[in-house]
């Protein structure tokens, strides 16, 4: 959107300037140009505001997750932080793609990498213990309590494929880079798992039952949508590079599997962009925490 709108506006500007036949500015052209310029401004302003940490949608999404004000506040805070970190991470990834590869590299790899790093950093904040008396509930919290089966299966599946890519690279003498692509994908998944454990065991003092439910939901979102999914699509993008680098050893199959992995990574990213909760804004349903 941020790229498409300015490009369209520039094309319209050129048409308007030439009046279609090179005779100067046409009225229709000017009107279309003004409308598009306003649109570009809105898009740039919106993106700038989001980069600066203003995310009105976070509160709106939180409203669809709970009816209670305190729960909404807690969820909106987490949503705002997580969405901002992903945006900054993804934006940084795209900048690195432009500066380091001069747009010749794999944008999906850099973009998803940035999102995965941003998402992980968002969950690594440290909560200082309070001074004086402290309280805690004797609840057991583990990653398994928060991670959805589908997300866990995807992580394991991609991990197995990454291992297979690395192992094939080890056997095939002319496809050594595949080892590093496979190992890197495995390392991404392992790092995500560690971050998930950290989120599950993140300190929580004894709070009311309703805040505990909201905190549990925030942890579930963080462990699944926040960590598992970005790690999975980034690892898949790495695995895709691994398959491509196996081409000298396994021929066209490497291209085919690499293409499939790349498309699947793109699909996962698309469904999880902005945490994949924007559907709540267009298709409201009963709050998760009734």
């Amino acid at each position: 959107m941020a790229v498409a709108v300015p490009t369209t506006a520039l094309s319209v500007l050129l048409v308007a300037r030439n009046g279609g036949d090179g005779s100067g500015w046409s009225v229709t052209g000017i009107v279309v140009f003004v409308v598009l310029a306003a649109l570009v401004l809105v898009v740039i302003l919106n993106f700038g505001l989001q980069l600066a940490g203003f995310d009105g949608e976070a509160s709106e999404i939180a409203e669809h997750l709970s009816n209670d004000l305190e729960q909404r506040r807690l969820l909106a805070r987490w949503l705002g932080r997580a969405r901002w970190a992903r945006l900054v991470g993804g934006f940084s990834g795209c900048l690195i793609w432009i500066l380091a590869t001069h747009t010749r590299g794999d944008l999906l790899l850099y973009g998803t990498g940035g999102i995965a790093v941003g998402a992980t950093l968002a969950e690594l904040h440290h909560i200082r213990p309070r001074r004086g008396p402290r309280t805690a509930r004797l609840d057991v919290r583990s990653v398994g309590d928060y991670l959805m089966r589908q997300d866990a299966q995807r992580m394991i599946g991609v991990g197995v494929v990454a291992f297979a890519v690395a192992a094939t690279g080890l056997v095939a003498t002319d496809a050594r880079p595949a080892i590093w692509w496979g190992l890197s994908a495995g390392a991404v998944l392992a790092a995500a798992r560690l971050a998930q454990q950290r989120v599950a065991s993140r300190p929580r003092r004894a709070i009311s039952a309703k805040l505990t439910r909201a905190d549990d939901l925030a942890r579930e979102l963080a462990i699944g949508r926040g960590l598992a999914r970005p790690a999975t699509f980034f690892a898949l993008a790495l695995v895709a590079r691994g398959f491509f680098s196996l081409t000298p050893a396994i021929g066209g199959l490497g291209e085919l599997l690499g293409g499939a992995a790349w498309l699947y990574a793109l699909y996962l990213w698309w469904h999880n962009r902005r945490l994949g909760l924007d559907f709540l804004l267009t298709e409201p349903r009963d709050p998760v925490l009734a």
Binding site: R134, A206, S208
Partner: protein, 123 residues
């Protein structure tokens, strides 16, 4: 099931943890077979060093109140229940401490009970 510790008290923190878990098991609030949080999690939740909770769990194991089953975790063991009388005595002692502190702070009965209700609702 809530634990509360105060590092400022004369009683060591691991003793405070031990005492409270024992009390909950004896009263039946924590039933036999209940899984307890890991040392790391409980230490993080209470903002304490891992060694402190490790010591408390060790002492509770020696008291045969809890048992550790390898990687499965730490579980509450079967233990003789406290009598109704013991429970009443414990509650009266806690109430007495609260009333003494409330009077020292100059709070009246209704303010004190309001504070109790507020905390009761929030925990």
């Amino acid at each position: 099931m809530i634990l509360s510790v105060d590092p400022g008290r004369a009683l060591p923190v691991y003793e405070q943890v031990r005492e409270q878990i024992k009390r909950m098991v004896a009263s039946g609030t924590l039933q036999a077979g209940t899984r307890l949080p890991t040392i790391r999690q409980l230490a993080a939740d209470l903002g304490l060093a891992k060694g402190t909770i490790e010591r408390a769990y060790e002492l509770l194991e020696n008291d045969t109140v809890i048992e550790t089953k390898g990687r499965k975790g730490t579980f509450v063991m079967e233990m003789a229940r406290a009598t109704k009388h013991q429970q009443t005595v414990g509650l009266a002692a806690a109430a007495e401490s609260l009333v003494v502190i409330a009077r020292q702070l100059g709070a009246d009965e209704s303010t004190t009970l309001d504070a109790v209700r507020q905390v009761w609702r929030n925990l």
